[in-house]
Symmetry: C2
Subunit: 359 residues, 2 copies
């Protein structure tokens, strides 16, 4: 794994953030920086040393796999960290000016209180937001390969599922078909619980599959993705069963056009907010602004939703190497909904679509 | 769902904790108290009113399904909560003595900071630990039914898997077999990523399945569970392929006896710490104390690990209605490991085993 480069990049960022040490408590951020994928542990990095603290279930494997890391037993109340801090050269040489950054979005109030009680006297604690998350918003080559494979798997599965949707099949049966295809593929599981919604149910963007059966004259919305070697994909398609109703055709065209327009508008450096606004203004201009009730898209990678978020409040920047979804949707109560979602990578000239399932 | 009773019980607990309002930010705790199962939202409860704040993806469904709840759009920075608080009678009638409990283990430092900035002037914020978690440690009848069904599914799947383990099959293939059987059952998915470890790999308690193949003369450790209507099961078995090695037989007997001894020692009211100690002292007495490198067990339900935790540091009490695993294990580097794990419910006379897969 490309963790050596990532650790070097992290150390450069730590200088920019004026912190001498950084405590990473987010599971996914630990995995990104160190390769550690256990369910319990945190990492502590300085310019010269890197430590993983974890429990007895993972220690021996971690010591074998993470040869550049010092792997130590985790203790409650951060005493393992305070002991390590007291040994770290920087601290002994300095006059208590060791600033330790911590991931303030990934530590609970309780854990922060314990941390402060244990080490608040020997370092100054600095809340840091989105340091590793911002690094993760630009994918490296290894990540792009894995993401591409994850998207390809989802592509082939959603195509097979859509081709098997016939009147009489239920939402749960379709969801079950997705699960079966994933199990029989090289994917490691679902990226998130699949959404399958038919008819009126599709008016709810995050509908949970029921026993409701597909009927001729119904639309069916399918939103699924796979997990592959840690990386997630996420694709949505909406199809119509039987001869297409005119209103469905109209709404579908608007949603598809919204996706195409935002794809053209997405140039490297654009903010999530501005791109979301592009889609929103287009859908408003078509008279359906009240029915586009979620954000336009989101970054994707180790997490299903990560930076750059493409929602109305997001200052995240889509830059070369960002991988993200564009998923405009229109949801009309007592009628139904349409969502079209693809995954893109930002290149120099704009987004390149990774997902290929036909629309 | 039994949420009305749970909400009543919560309100009684709030009196015991001397809080007038309670903010529940843990997803599972929200689900337990209100039935809401969306991925984004929190609930706010007083003695007289109950509110759910969630986003546009879930609002319409929640309004239909949660008829006793006031469902309002979530906003960033908790302004939706401060507006609601200012309308709540208790606050207007009192002299700023409204104490609002919050789940200090389930709110990040960042979110707490936002919350305090928004409402710190109008209420006094009180960190509360384990209020709903303690309620959840005693299962109600509805939960017991679902847990029983979840355990039965895992039971039948692990039996089928074990009967199909032959020399030449790989860990990944066994894990894949588990996934296939789950997909073709009425379960909703895996309770956690299955552990399959053969030979030396079984010395690592949380081994991730590899392409390593089972050979005659190997032990195979399988640890799996299913998710069924929100409730999780968790069963481990260790088998030996071929004629049983004497050392395996010795270790297996010790682990099995440790489980039986702790099962007998577990009476209603015992702490997790004391029960863990019983197993640990027995295994120490057999000379393998250094190789029992994890806790004895854990409560199970909506979460895979929940109260009562049965580990050396746990003051949690196993009471009538608690559902928990007992999973002693011995892991010897360069030899392998044995773990036996079953699920029990605490009854008046002691634990009743729910999992039936033969050992």
């Amino acid at each position: 794994m490309n963790t050596k480069n990532r650790l070097n990049n992290l150390r450069r960022e730590m200088v920019n953030f004026s912190i001498k040490g950084f405590l990473i408590t987010s599971n996914k951020n630990c995995q990104y920086i160190s390769g550690f994928s256990g369910s319990n542990g945190y990492i502590f990095v300085t310019q010269y040393e890197s430590y993983l603290f974890t429990d007895s279930r993972y220690i021996s494997t971690a010591r074998i796999q993470m040869d550049d890391w010092i792997v130590l037993p985790i203790t409650r109340n951060y005493s393992c960290l305070s002991e390590t801090l007291s040994k770290v050269n920087d601290i002994s040489q300095s006059d208590n000016d060791f600033t330790l950054g911590f991931e303030s979005a990934h530590i609970s109030f309780d854990e922060y209180t314990k941390l402060k009680n244990e080490i608040g006297d020997i370092v100054s604690l600095e809340p840091i937001t989105s340091l590793v998350e911002s690094m993760r918003s630009i994918k490296d080559l290894e990540e792009l390969t894995l993401l591409n494979d994850s998207v390809k798997l989802a592509d082939s599965i959603i195509q097979e599922v859509l081709s098997n949707i016939k009147p009489g099949i239920s939402e749960v049966e379709i969801s079950h078909m997705i699960d079966s295809l994933i199990v029989n593929s090289s994917a490691d599981g679902t990226a998130f619980p699949s959404i399958v919604a038919t008819g009126l149910n599709s008016a709810s963007p995050h509908h949970v599959p029921t026993d409701e059966k597909v009927k001729t004259g119904d639309s069916v919305l399918v939103d699924m993705g796979v997990l592959y070697k840690g990386y997630r994909s996420d694709i949505s398609r909406t199809i119509f069963v039987g001869e297409m109703e005119q209103k469905f055709s109209e709404i579908y065209s608007i949603v598809l056009e919204a996706q195409m327009i935002t794809c053209c508008a997405a140039i490297p450096g654009i903010t999530g907010q501005n791109l979301d606004k592009t889609a929103r203004e287009f859908i408003i201009s078509k008279g359906y602004g009240d029915y586009f009730i979620h954000g336009l898209g989101h970054g994707i990678g180790l997490d299903i939703h990560e930076k750059p978020m493409i929602v109305s409040s997001s200052q995240d920047i889509l830059d070369v190497g960002s991988v993200f979804t564009l998923e405009p949707g229109i949801y009309i109560p007592d009628w139904g909904g349409v969502r079209i979602e693809d995954i893109f990578i930002m290149e120099e000239n704009g987004p390149k679509r990774l997902s290929r399932a036909p629309k």
